[in-house]
Symmetry: C2
Subunit: 321 residues, 2 copies
DNA sequence: GTGAAAGCGCTAACAA
DNA sequence: TTGTTAGCGCTTTCAC
């Protein structure tokens, strides 16, 4: 019995004859050792917990997809849970996932207050990705939000737009905050203004419509997250506001469709795969005890300037009333 | 010790005083019972395995996302693995996931030969979704591929198109096959032809380009899966083939961007959430031993007729050379 | 209503 | 190199 265990775990002290016989029996029976019993006795196993805000967001889907592949290569399985962008649910998930005693967690938190939601009583190593918690102490992988947003703002200002509306879910989410701050700092002569659009489609729609219908329409609209971009783009079409003639448009977060529409949308392309890869690498490094202090990694984004944000041809100046 | 267990599992035979004290201690310590030990002793736990071909496909992302929510509501955790559309990897995943002794599996198989890839030695209940295995014996939730594809083909024929190219990954995938057969059966006077485009972006591109550049260009193009749609749409733009002037375009699988482009794309909208919901319901039903024989459920799709497939205005007839 | 003891399927430690 | 024994953290059983 112990010998079977030794064969399956590749221990050296087993005779060739036994190895062969055990393998044959295992194949015939389709036997796979029980991970639970195995973990219980050895204390070790290869299970990683993944907590994301929303799996239906293509960015998080791509993140988990890449993570799954890398985890598999390292023999890990993934327990995936969604916080549904809700702090309370996130807290509950972080708590209940501990019952599996995962080797560690990879978390995209729903806002900055992650520390406050960690259950007491010894958590496994945590690598935080994409969004930066208010408190330090975590390994961290994110993109250079401020710099990339600044590049977009500078581009929009450079195209001669005078006023810019920035719309993103919530400033409580670090990357939205960093993007806004980066854009605001780089706006130069362009007047720039922020609206928190929320996390719900309907709410986003209402808030954007209210702002776009009231008073002077901004020359440019810069959306800071995928859902806001989607809703804004649809809304502009419905309102008959033409891109880029009536308004310039740019997005943080580049998804498939943005270069398929006409004109294609200027966007910040986040290196999602690279982020997942970096998170996994750091996860493994942390588990093997290599690092002493938490590591922070900031990845660069590509700025994709496309037709949606280019100067309105033939119009010398702001034509909105 | 046993009493603590009884409190946590809500057993009735515990005094109120004990319940209060145990809960207080649990809260203070952040204690969560070890699922592994718990499963080992009781033989029961709430873990479901999910096997999908590719998490980065938005359709599967939405599927898993919905599943995760429903699972959570029923107290289940989800072990998610991807087969990367590769039968060998699928077989390996199906095998290794058994080490967790999941209560059951929900599988979107990568092709029809699922049975052949199941490890011997007693598998847990399996609900198959989206794609139909060649062998019966599984609970099944899928959409009415043939009927929906037929509706598209009939629509294209009705618009006066004379020739139609159908492109989908592989006929070995049941839903692609059903879609092709449904379309072929409903083409009427319209000449219809199928090309298997493959699963790899580059390959899809090459095959489509070869077909679209050679000989007579078809009047209409009907793509049967998301990746083929994406690649085809980009390719048409690059080739300068205008939709719908030069070619009518329709897609099986409706994603966000298809109604954002100009003209919006005619598509079959699959009820992904409903499919996930039905799969979960069946999963729970199967676990509770309610059903004797496997159940098959076919869900209806919505046909979204949009601008991309409408008759070319002003052109009385087939203008292609 | 509570506590003591056994045992789930493994692996670690050690004896043979 | 192989076999035996103990025990991981729970839940079940059963005595109290």
């Amino acid at each position: 019995m112990a010998t079977v265990s030794n064969v399956l775990n590749g221990k050296p002290s087993v005779s060739q004859g036994f190895i062969t016989r055990v393998r044959a029996a295992v194949d015939e029976l389709g036997y796979v050792a029980d991970s639970h019993a195995s973990r219980l006795r050895s204390g070790k196993h290869s299970l990683a917990g993944v907590v994301v805000p929303d799996l239906s967001n293509p960015m998080f889907g791509a993140f988990v997809s890449t993570l799954e592949r890398l985890a598999r290569d390292d023999g890990f399985d993934l327990l995936v849970v969604s916080s549904a962008n809700d702090p309370d649910q996130e807290a509950e998930r972080l708590r209940s996932i501990r019952s599996w005693r995962p080797a560690g967690l990879i978390v995209i938190p729903c806002d900055g207050r992650l520390s406050a939601r960690l259950p007491r009583g010894g958590n496994p190593p945590i690598v935080v990705a994409d969004r930066i918690p208010d408190d330090g102490g975590f390994d961290l992988v994110a993109v250079d939000n401020a710099k990339s947003a600044a590049a977009i703002a500078a581009h929009l200002a450079g195209e001669g737009h005078r006023t810019c509306l920035v719309a993103g879910s919530m400033l409580a989410i670090s990357n939205v905050r960093e993007r806004w701050e980066g854009a605001a700092a780089a706006a130069g002569p362009m007047a720039i203004e922020m609206v928190e659009s929320g996390l719900d489609r309907g709410v986003i729609r209402d808030r954007l419509r209210a702002r776009l219908s009231a008073g002077t329409r901004p020359d440019a609209l810069f959306t800071l997250d995928h859902l806001t971009t989607l809703v804004a783009y649809q809304l502009l079409a419905e309102l008959g506001v033409s891109i880029p003639r009536d308004i310039a448009f740019a997005s943080f977060d580049d998804t498939e469709w943005m270069h398929l529409v006409t004109p294609p949308i200027t966007a910040v392309r986040q290196p999602v795969e690279e982020m997942a890869r970096a998170a996994w690498t750091q996860f493994i490094r942390r588990l093997s005890g290599g690092d002493a202090v938490p590591r922070t990694l900031r990845l660069s984004c590509a700025i994709e300037i496309r037709g949606s944000s280019l100067r309105r041809t033939g119009l010398p100046d702001n034509a909105a009333a």
